[in-house]
Amino acid sequence: MNILVCISRVPDTASRVIVGSDGKTIDPQGIKYIVNPYDEIALEEGLRLREKNGGTVTALTVGGESSKEQLRTALAMGVDSAVIVKTDSSFDSFFVANNISEYAKSINPDIILLGKQSVDFDSLQVPSILGELLGLPSVSVVTKLAIEGNTVTAEREIEGGKEVVETSLPCIISAQKGLNDPRYPKLPDIMKAKSKPIEEKDAVNSDERVTVMGIEIPLKKRAGIILGGEDKDIDEVVRLLHEESKVI
C-alpha cells in the first residue's frame, strides 16, 4: 500500500501568541511549534495501515526550512520517507492543496491521509480542495476507518451523531480525534531520525486565493456589571451603553 500523509507545522496551542509588527502574521519569537495534532492522528493511521497491509508511508509537508523539524518527528514515529515542498512565503489552503496534488501525481498513492484541519488557521479546506484537484473521493472528519480490498468504510462525525460512508481506493481521508491514539516516538528512533534524508522539492504552483488582511488577539472578557431592577437602573444601563461601551 502506497500511503501519503500530509502534515503541517503549527504553533503549540499552549503558546502565548503575539501579533507580528506587520499585523498580518504572528510573531514567531518564543512560540513552540509542533506537528498539527490532527496530522499526528493521520500519521498514526498511515503507520497502522502499513503494519497491516505492508507498503510504505511517505510524510509530506508544504512549508519553510523549519518545517523539517516536523518531518523529523514523522520519521521518528516510523514513516519510510519524508518530503518537503519548500516555500518561503506565507500561503493559503489552495496553495498547499495545489502543491500536495502535484506531488501526489508523481507517486500515485493508494490513500492520502491528513488532519481534518490545522490548528493555526483552522480553514478546513485542504482535504476537500485536494479531492477536487486530484479527482478523488475525499472523506472528512473521520473517526473510524476500515479498508477491505479496495472498499473503504469510514465513520464520520456529524452534528449530533455519526454517519457511515463507503468509498473505494484511491481516496483522501481527513482524520478527527478518536480515530486512534498516536504512538510516542521511541528514543532510539528519535536518534536515528536525525540522520535520515529529507527529500526537497520546490513549490510548483504559487497561485493563492486568499489574502490575509490582518489578525487580532481577541479582547479579554471584562467582568460584567449587575444592576438592580428599578427605573433608575434602566437609565444607568442606557448611560453605560452610550458613554462606556459606546454602542448607542
Binding site: G30, K32, I34, E69, R72, T73, A76, Y184, P185, K186, L187, P188, D189, I190, M191, A193, K194
Partner: protein, 385 residues
C-alpha cells in the same frame, strides 16, 4: 521552556515525547501507586518500550544511544510528574546499567546489556546498614574458593533489586586488604535466583513509594570468577566513578520535581482569588515564584552544561556534586513554596503538592547526602590540602 537553553532538534523532541508520556500515562496513576506503595511493572514496561532502560547505551547492545544531555532531560521530565518512575529509570541507567557498560568485560556486556535495555532491571548494592556515606566501612565479604567466590553480608536501600522484572544486582564486597591497610573492594554481578542471594522489598517509605527499594541478604552466595566486574580490587574506584555520574541523574530529578512544583504553584496562584484578586498578584506569593523560577533557570543551565562536559569526557567530580546539591535544595524550596501557596489543598493527597513535598526529601539524602556533597566540593577546592 525558556528559550535560553540551546537544545538540538532531537533533544527538543525527546523532551516533548517524555513530557507527553509522563502527563498522559504516568500522571493519572501517580497518586494511587504512591498511596498503595506499589511498584508498577506495567509503567516500567511502557518506559522500557520507549527506550528508557538503555538510555545512553549504544545500539549494538540494544540501547537508545542518547547523549548525556538527552538522558538527563528524560529523567527530568519523568520527575516533573512522578519521582518514583524517575527513580526507577535513573537508578537503572546510572547505577544498574552504567557500571556494567563502563567497567564490564565484553563478555559481561554481551551477556547482560541486551536484556537490561529490553525490559529487565538491575540494582546497585553499595549501601549497608552500617556503611552509607562511610562506604569504606563495608562489611560484606567475598572469599575465594577455588575458581569461585563465596559472599556473605547484607545491603540496604537498593533501588530496583527485588521487582519481578529484576535480573540481578551489582554488589560491592571486601576481598582483602591493601598494602596501606585499607580494605580492598571488588564488585560482583549477582543474578536473582542465585542460592543464598535474597533481595526483599522494603515497605513504609515516606517518598518514592511507587519505586522498588530493597534489602539484600547474602548467605554463602557462590559465584564464579566471571561474576567479578572488571578486575578484583577495582570496586571502590568503580563505585566512586558510578556515583559521579549518578549524581547528575539525582540532580535531574531535583530539577524536574522543582519544575513540576513550580508549575503547579504558578497555575494555582493565578487562578485562586483571595480578597478579590489572584493570589499570584500578592508579592508574598509572586516573589516565591520568582525565586523558584530563578533557581530553575540557573540549575538547568548548569546541569546541562555539566552533561555536555561529560559528553566531552571531562572529569566532573566537583561539578556533579554541585549539580546534585543545588538541584536537590532547589527541589526542597520549590516543594515547600508549592505547598505553602496551595495552602490547605497543598496538604491533601489528591493534589500533587504533598507528594512533591515528601519525594524531594530523598534527594538531599540518597547517593551522597547534602553534607557529603559539601565535603566533596570543599575537598576539591583545596580546603583540606
Amino acid at each position: 521552556m525558556s528559550p535560553n537553553i540551546f537544545l538540538t532538534d532531537d533533544q527538543v523532541l525527546i523532551r516533548d515525547t517524555i513530557r507527553k508520556f509522563a502527563e498522559e500515562t504516568i500522571k493519572p496513576k501517580a497518586i494511587e501507586l504512591d498511596d498503595k506503595e506499589e511498584f508498577s511493572s506495567d509503567l516500567t514496561k511502557q518506559m522500557s518500550d520507549l527506550g528508557l532502560l538503555g538510555a545512553f547505551i549504544p545500539e549494538q547492545y540494544g540501547g537508545s544511544h542518547l547523549d548525556y544531555v538527552s538522558y538527563i532531560i528524560a529523567v527530568e521530565e519523568l520527575a516533573r510528574v512522578d519521582g518514583s518512575q524517575a527513580a526507577t529509570i535513573a537508578a537503572h541507567n546510572s547505577l544498574g546499567v552504567g557500571p556494567i557498560y563502563y567497567f564490564g568485560s565484553e563478555e559481561q556486556k554481551q551477556k547482560y546489556l541486551p536484556k537490561l535495555t529490553a525490559g529487565s532491571l538491575w540494582g546497585f548494592g553499595l549501601t549497608e546498614p552500617e556503611a552509607g556515606s562511610d562506604a569504606g566501612n563495608t562489611q560484606t565479604v567475598a572469599v575465594p574458593d577455588g575458581d569461585d567466590w563465596i559472599i556473605n553480608g547484607s545491603k540496604i536501600f537498593i533501588t530496583n533489586a527485588s521487582t519481578d522484572m529484576t535480573l540481578g544486582s551489582t554488589v560491592l564486597a571486601v576481598t582483602g586488604k591493601k598494602p596501606d591497610g585499607r580494605k580492598e573492594m571488588t564488585c560482583f554481578l549477582i543474578e536473582n535466583g542465585t542460592k543464598g542471594f535474597n533481595p526483599t522489598a522494603m515497605k513504609g517509605k515516606m517518598m518514592w513509594r511507587a519505586s522498588n527499594t530493597s534489602e539484600i541478604s547474602l548467605e554463602d552466595v557462590r559465584v564464579s570468577k566471571d561474576a567479578v566486574l572488571g578486575r578484583v580490587g577495582d570496586g571502590f574506584k568503580q563505585m566512586l566513578a558510578t556515583l559521579d555520574n549518578g549524581r547528575l541523574s539525582i540532580a535531574a530529578m531535583g530539577l524536574g520535581l522543582a519544575q513540576g512544583a513550580f508549575e503547579l504553584a504558578l497555575n494555582y496562584a493565578k487562578q485562586r482569588i483571595t480578597f478579590n484578586k489572584p493570589l499570584s498578584t500578592y508579592q508574598a506569593t509572586a516573589f516565591k515564584l520568582a525565586d523558584t523560577d530563578m533557581g530553575l533557570e540557573l540549575a538547568r543551565n548548569y546541569l546541562y552544561n555539566v552533561c555536555r562536559m561529560l559528553d566531552h569526557k571531562r572529569r566532573i567530580s566537583k561539578e556533579s556534586a554541585i549539580c546534585k546539591l543545588y538541584c536537590s535544595e532547589l527541589a526542597h524550596m520549590a516543594a515547600d513554596h508549592c505547598v505553602q501557596i496551595l495552602g490547605g489543598y497543598g496538604l491533601m493527597k489528591e493534589y500533587h503538592a504533598e507528594r512533591f513535598y515528601r519525594d524531594q526529601k530523598l534527594l538531599e539524602i540518597g547517593e551522597g547526602t547534602s553534607e557529603i556533597q559539601r565535603l566533596v566540593i570543599s575537598r576539591l577546592i583545596g580546603c583540606y590540602d
